[in-house]
């Protein structure tokens, strides 16, 4: 029977990556003598090795075997684990990941790194590499034996043999598979029936087997009972009974009879191509398996409780639905109350169902945080700074897609904190701080958002240095007066990074401006707080999910638009005394201490509208990139959650619009891209102003 193993490979890969993560995090937390941790690391390596062998990833098996051997020595106390060993094991984990990823993607990998690490492991273990290969090759040769022999086997089992679950009859049937078997039972040790113990075995056997099998093959049948029996296997001289074919005869005699040699050689040679074909078929099959699992299927592991709650809600929905349809069959106006309560129930069900479905996509942020202990460990060795990493709120849940995309920006922020935040130990001591610095990662929910904070207790951001560099780079005018937060925002300007920063992170090709852009593309924002001598905090604010948005519906003319609730500061009715017209048709509205530019949506999208005058009109004040603007609308409608449909996928990218949704009445409404709109409006105002200047010059 042939069973296709490829279907189990994705599951093997998944648990291998989990195992590697466990190995890594355990290695980082390793204290000498903690056997339970060593054990769990060993188990993870062991499982990966076993699975890799079964599913045909031989390079993984070979490499992991070395890792496992080292771990085994540590586990048994034959070796004291040193910091060097830990480092070697961490690098080995990297190599295993490399190999497994290469196996998954059917791609090439950095062979030099593997070879180097293999060498280091072998050195540590003080073994010679190729020894094991020779052994394998030898055992292969052993199976090439001449055919058609007669074996005499004496099998005297110990009385308790059956108590380990072994059954002599099954052993004999396995022997019978090897050739022609005859057996004779010896019952002389059988006690009287009154003294007989039913759980004991009193019989022994004499067997004779005519078979091509080697002694080793026969011994293998008795492998499990070897220690619980007396076993004698003797090869008898050529049997007259043997009815082997001519070829077999010639093979058997080839050793002594010269003219037959050539014959026997051809017989042996012809077998080789067959096995070669077989093995190449096997390779093909393995390669096919690999391509199948090549793409990350993008699956999520969902807790059974979440699925159960979904099914539960589905059940309630079905009940409500059947209640409503029964009501619809013979509806009278007197049943209106019942209909109403039924509809309320439907609303409730739908809402709960939606929440449950969203929860399925939610994963604890520990998935993103997991890589940081290792990162900080490596960076602290590289920079020579002592750093503690504190992780809080790792159970905070976040949408899978958001999680995947926030990983790299977070890595950059943490690198940044190690590199530029934490001071060197000497400087810390000189400043009266603890010798080792602390970086804290924290995640928590706030409203419909998740906040991720990366803070350090380092030197803080040097305001003057940032400002002077920004002036030097021409990002701000030298005379400008800026608030702290405006200065810190300069860090995210493209082209701000210093040469040192670029060399540090060049491998990743990410700068702070890219970090900000990535966060914004997720609909989030980033803020910086910093105090000289005390430390800095980067606060990333992200929506929980990308699929659903809390929106404010507004009307402009006959169109309905949706403004993301997260961007709205407030809505107000414009009063005349706060309105300021400036040049270029730009209207400013005075909102407490701020002057807020007014963007009439109808102008921006070129629509007919009821309200064109700012006075007394409704303004929705929104904020993006630290810039507040007032959107002029005709009417405020409901607030509701909307499902985001991509315009790019269904139509094309439209300036000032981030997506679309379908409203309850079936109509399509556009979701406003607030930062995009602000940019659009500013560009147009600039153009207008230029026109005015041009006109002025002409007059």
């Amino acid at each position: 029977m042939s069973i296709d193993l490829s279907q189990f490979i994705p599951s093997f890969l998944e648990e291998s990556f989990e195992g590697l993560e466990l190995m890594e995090s355990s290695l980082l937390n390793l204290d000498a003598g903690d056997n339970e941790i060593i054990n769990s690391i060993f188990r993870a390596a062991h499982s990966i090795k076993g699975g890799a062998g079964t599913f045909g990833f031989d390079n993984v098996t070979e490499f992991t075997h070395l890792v496992e051997t080292l771990l085994d020595e540590i586990r048994d106390g034959r070796r004291d684990i040193t910091a060097k060993d830990t480092e070697l094991l961490l690098v080995s984990v990297d190599c295993m990941r490399l190999l497994i990823e290469a196996a998954r993607d059917d791609a090439d990998y950095d062979q030099d790194k593997i070879t180097e690490t293999t060498h280091l492991l072998e050195q540590t273990l003080e073994i010679d590499g190729p020894a094991s290969h020779i052994e394998i090759a030898k055992s292969d040769e052993d199976t090439q034996e001449p055919a058609g022999k007669i074996w005499h086997i004496t099998f005297i089992p110990e009385h308790h043999l059956v108590q380990t679950g072994n059954d002599p009859l099954l052993l004999f049937s396995a022997l019978a598979d090897l050739g022609e078997l005859t057996l004779k039972a010896k019952t002389d040790l059988l006690p009287a029936i009154t003294e007989m113990d039913a759980t004991e075995l009193y019989i022994s056997w004499e067997l004779s087997l005519i078979s091509d099998a080697s002694e080793e093959d026969i011994r293998e049948v008795f492998e499990w009972v070897e220690d619980e029996c007396k076993l004698e296997i003797v090869e008898l001289e050529v049997s007259p009974k043997s009815s082997s074919s001519e070829t077999q005869d010639s093979l058997r005699n080839s050793a002594s009879v010269d003219p037959e040699i050539s014959d026997s050689q051809t017989a042996l040679v012809t077998e080789q191509p067959a096995s070669a074909i077989q093995s190449s078929e096997k390779i093909e099959k393995i390669e096919k398996n690999k391509t199948k699992t090549k793409q990350d299927s993008g699956s999520i592991r969902v807790g059974v409780d979440k699925v159960d709650s979904l099914i539960n809600l589905m059940g309630e929905l079905v009940i409500t639905q059947s209640m409503l349809s029964e009501l619809g069959n013979d509806f009278e106006i007197s049943k209106l109350e019942k209909l109403k309560s039924g509809l309320d129930q439907l609303l409730q069900n739908t809402k709960e169902l939606q929440e449950s479905v969203m929860k399925i996509r939610m994963l604890p942020i520990s998935f993103a945080f997991n890589r940081f202990p290792r990162l900080v460990h490596d960076l602290s060795i590289k920079t020579g700074k002592e750093i503690n990493l504190v992780i809080r709120g790792e159970q905070t849940e976040l949408d899978k897609t958001v999680m995947e995309q926030i990983g790299d920006p977070l890595v950059h922020l943490v690198r940044n904190a190690v590199d530029h935040g934490i001071e060197s130990s000497d400087m810390r001591i000189a400043n009266g701080k603890p010798k080792s610095g602390t970086i804290t990662l924290d995640a928590y929910h706030q409203g419909g958002n998740i906040i991720i904070e990366i803070s350090d207790d380092g030197g803080g951001i040097n305001r003057e240095a940032v400002l002077s560099k920004a002036i030097e780079k021409g990002l701000v005018d030298s005379g400008a007066t800026l608030s702290d937060s405006q200065v810190f925002d300069l860090l995210f300007e493209p082209g701000f990074s210093t040469a040192k920063e670029i060399s540090d992170i060049s491998g990743r090709g990410v700068g702070m401006d890219v970090v900000k852009r990535n966060i914004q593309s997720l609909g989030g924002r980033i803020q910086v707080e910093s105090q000289p001598g005390i430390g800095s905090k980067f606060k990333v604010n992200l929506p929980l999910t990308l699929a659903i948005l809390d929106g404010q519906l507004v009307r402009v003319g006959t169109e309905v638009y949706i403004i993301p609730l997260i961007t709205i500061v407030e809505s107000l009715q414009a009063k005349e005394e706060f309105i300021n017209k400036v040049s270029g048709d730009m209207t400013l509205y005075r909102l407490r201490d701020d002057n807020v530019p007014v963007i009439p949506i109808y102008q921006l999208f070129d629509l007919p509208a009821d309200t064109k005058e700012v006075n007394n009109a409704l303004l929705v004040v929104v904020e993006a990139d630290g810039q507040k603007v007032g959107l002029l609308v005709d009417d405020l409608l409901a607030q509701q959650q909307v499902v985001i449909k991509s315009l790019k996928d269904n139509y094309q990218q439209v300036e000032g619009i981030s997506g679309a949704t379908i409203l309850g009445d079936g109509s399509v409404a556009m979701i406003l891209d607030v930062p995009g709109m602000i940019e659009m409006a500013m560009k147009r105002a600039q153009e207008k102003q230029n026109e005015h200047i041009l006109e002025g010059a002409l007059v």
């Binding site: 029977m1 069973i3 189990f8 490979i9 090795k49 679950g165 052993l171 396995a174 499990w224």
Partner: protein, 120 residues
Amino acid sequence: MTKILVVDDSNSIRDMVSFTLKSAGFETTEAKDGVEGLNKAKAGNYDLVISDINMPNMDGIALCTELRKLPSFKFTPILMLTTESSPEMKMRGKTAGATGWLVKPFNPEKLLATIKRVVR
């Protein structure tokens, strides 16, 4: 129908073993470690137990020792599934009462051939 209890902490290996056995017409129950395996063993009758050795909570050796204490598992074949092909590990298994072992890596064919040696 022959009922087999499969105990392994690795999902992929457990699934593979179980799938292979089901394809060959056996009925299987799965457990992810020794503790769960022992509980399931106590709750039902099995014709064969196949268990990994290295597992969290309770390893295969301990499971085997415990199973042999149960009257209904006194003669039940127990196969240890392991990469440890060292004689020492085999001895530990035998001492604990294991019937035999199956050395990883193995393929479905080898698994079924091995099982033929312990169940009819």
